[in-house]
Subunit: 304 residues, 4 copies
Amino acid sequence: MIDFQHVLDTIHQTAQKTDDRGKIADYIPELAKVDKYKFGIHLVNMNQENFSAGDSNERFSIQSISKVFTLTMALGLIGEKLWTRVDVEPSGDPFNHLSLLEFEKGIPRNPFINPGAIVVADVLISHLKNPKDEFLAFVRNIADDETIDYNSTVAASEKQTGFHNYAAANLLKSFKNLENDVETVLDFYFHQCSLTMSCAQLANTFYLYINNGRCRRKNTHLTSGQVKRINALMLTCGFYDEAGEFAFEVGLPGKSGVGGGIVALHPNKFCVATWSPGLNEKGNSKLGMLALEKLTTETELSIF
Amino acid sequence: MIDFQHVLDTIHQTAQKTDDRGKIADYIPELAKVDKYKFGIHLVNMNQENFSAGDSNERFSIQSISKVFTLTMALGLIGEKLWTRVDVEPSGDPFNHLSLLEFEKGIPRNPFINPGAIVVADVLISHLKNPKDEFLAFVRNIADDETIDYNSTVAASEKQTGFHNYAAANLLKSFKNLENDVETVLDFYFHQCSLTMSCAQLANTFYLYINNGRCRRKNTHLTSGQVKRINALMLTCGFYDEAGEFAFEVGLPGKSGVGGGIVALHPNKFCVATWSPGLNEKGNSKLGMLALEKLTTETELSIF
Amino acid sequence: MIDFQHVLDTIHQTAQKTDDRGKIADYIPELAKVDKYKFGIHLVNMNQENFSAGDSNERFSIQSISKVFTLTMALGLIGEKLWTRVDVEPSGDPFNHLSLLEFEKGIPRNPFINPGAIVVADVLISHLKNPKDEFLAFVRNIADDETIDYNSTVAASEKQTGFHNYAAANLLKSFKNLENDVETVLDFYFHQCSLTMSCAQLANTFYLYINNGRCRRKNTHLTSGQVKRINALMLTCGFYDEAGEFAFEVGLPGKSGVGGGIVALHPNKFCVATWSPGLNEKGNSKLGMLALEKLTTETELSIF
Amino acid sequence: MIDFQHVLDTIHQTAQKTDDRGKIADYIPELAKVDKYKFGIHLVNMNQENFSAGDSNERFSIQSISKVFTLTMALGLIGEKLWTRVDVEPSGDPFNHLSLLEFEKGIPRNPFINPGAIVVADVLISHLKNPKDEFLAFVRNIADDETIDYNSTVAASEKQTGFHNYAAANLLKSFKNLENDVETVLDFYFHQCSLTMSCAQLANTFYLYINNGRCRRKNTHLTSGQVKRINALMLTCGFYDEAGEFAFEVGLPGKSGVGGGIVALHPNKFCVATWSPGLNEKGNSKLGMLALEKLTTETELSIF
């Protein structure tokens, strides 16, 4: 049996000795204030045993990791109909996300690139009475943790500088793939991205995806077919233009955020969350990528 | 000597017999109300003799033709510095104007595609106290006609459906190639496009570009080098993705608008304006293109 | 325990009732001659127990499935140095494979798109004395089957119509990412694609990839890290522009060929090969995709 | 009246003082041997008066300038049918000529980009018995000069390194827009590009395009409509990705070649040829561009 605590400790020690931590995202001013030398890791196994090292209880901005939660909630609300408005293919191309959207007539490549997540946000707004409140309640429920909350300063900071997201939302609107108005959708979107959670909270919230759709409170939110699909999407599309590299080096489904968080999972085995705010040139946490590669290499627990 | 009146009459008669008038632009609801069977043409020569046929005094929405006037005013204000913010090359590509903007890091291909004209509008706003008033005064001056005005209903109609322009402006903003805020710039832009003029007014306003930069009121607005450049730009970029075709078939610099207007000119010889609201699949007036091709074929007055 | 034979029989029966079989690849004249109503499936588990249904022993042209074998051999020869000449990211874009190659300066997106496989072939040619003979011997070895052979008629047929591959190889050459001359490389490439194998042979040859790199003859050809990476690549890039869809619907690493074959595998559990010559619009076997989706849905044996 | 000799002398003196001559094309080894400090200019007016300065009688490789001659001959052979196989729009995009070809299904943007010129060469081969001989005779005829010839060393040099042209030709073939085989077409194409002419010869050969299609020997090769169209194409597409810039700065139709030659013309007024082997980053002669800009600025003889 694998001694997870020992593995996490080793990873933590290696991380502490690593000087090159990448570059903190500075396009969202509020995120630029974080201490670059933070590092946390937390793992939960199927028996809900918890292992951790470093700053695993410190909360940070989960950013794009929230896209997994909105996708989960949207699938619960409208099921497979969602796939008429967003595709499931990797985006591939680093330089022209908006052009792909133009070329493909307003159907985003997948729900984890920004335009795709904006469409998913639009679905939630159309089907919920109080979208921000109900989504927050949903995340607290699957996390089994009522302390999780938005960071409205971060949300406001993104709104002021989120011109690229405004461009994407308006382009979707021009292709009639946005039902609600741009301001409403982006207000929701900037709030979902501002959710603040620790590695410990993230790993436990993702328990649902290794446990056939059943969360820690034993509510079933997804069919096992839907879990399979979300996990497949995380593997093929979860890491921006580095999805292939992550599958190749780490070999687990996962999702990263520009706040420096990464969650990865092995169905029926474990989920793990890491946090280190410095990013590599593709926008994924530099130390987080190394930590997870080390984890699957040492434990030989990749899905491949 | 060419009998222009006879040529225009012949063109008008041919136009009246043409059933296939193309398709009126319907993405701006206000424009969709125009009578498709209107046709006007007006020509002014160097001696300021006027020739006309059809609905040449009926006013219509000049739309993108206004981009020539904003470019002229911007060159007057900041001169060649303008070219650090917008390029002078044809856009070529029909399907991905925003992607080119992404690829080329926020520098629009030329001042006659929408993103380029939005940058030019931004320049005017930065350098004028009352941009809408001063621009209107400028157009009235070069037109020698104080009755020219905006159509605020058309401007409001475009604002409500102009999501693609909002996408472009936000993308420019994300690349820091927009100094003013998106709403201010687009409010100006939608107003400039809503200018309402007749063929007679347009032809006389463009007199400046065949007369070395000197308008009908004998004010000099451009150096002869600047006139040469604006005319060159009209030739290479004045007709969306059909610029090559227009140069090839008509052989004159010109500019079209989705309201169905086209202005074309022969330096030191004449300017001519046509109007027919139905567009071809490239977004240029169907009958206008045919009329101008007929004009240069019959008179052998192309610049080539 | 899963009764694989029963599952395969059910799949076979469903297949036989399916009228819409897609369209046989006709751009290679020799392939167009195959009977569209063939269907075979074969599964091998970790204990090397074999299960089959339909035309599982009939040989067909494996085409792109051969790219997994050349990649395996190249990794054995030059190891991770290979990744300086070819990337590991999904290609994403359906319409511009050559343009991506231009844009990314001659580095193909991954070893399973044609330009990537041509680079891998070039590596083999540079490192082998008799490339075609040695590669064939390699495949026979991992297959534990000396009857496997090239089909020189198919190879010749592809050579005569393979203009797109000639374009790709010349483009690679222009970027100096091809060491040998175009004719030599493509002669090898067309031969590797012409390999003729049955579902039974394919499933047994892929045993290596579920068994940590150890083939049926108990030779170890790959480290477990390399196996993980090849399997990850099959998942993210194995199905042309439908890789996301296959991961999403089937949830297994795999590789398809335009001859109508598909191989998929579950590490440490089983490999399965299907054959049905009719293709869907993305170029993957229509019935093969359905069969594998049924297999993982019924057995719940996806890796996710 | 303009003193052309004085203007050319001034331009020549300025050129001699210019140190930064750009970079000689080195991808064709044979071209790389030319002396970078050569400079010639030659002008012919409507009365066939000749003016020259510098190395105006030294012969160089005309390269892409030959595309104007093949286009002229092809129009004479099959007329406007040519435009079903090649378009007349600027290519715009600097980075993906082959991708545009893929996207637009094998129809090159215009006859002056390489794929377009390869299609024109294919037309000549299909309609001539001895294509290379007959094309050479045609050029000698419009040049009124029997000493013009191919340089077979240059043609052979291009063949050995012309992988990008091989890629283009094969791509055209894959789209069925090439009737003859790739080798035959490229052999012709490399020969047409290897034509060796002086500025004096080029200017006199282009007399046809300022004289309504009638060459120096008084044979009429083109209708005045065809001349108009070729001149329009030179203006919109004659300078690779710098066509807009050339129209903007110089304001004349023209064509450049990587051998350092440029020809430009003013219909019914004059043609002028320059030669300076160093190229700017867009592949056009650096000093040639400056010389022509000076010429039209000083004489105010642009077509705009």
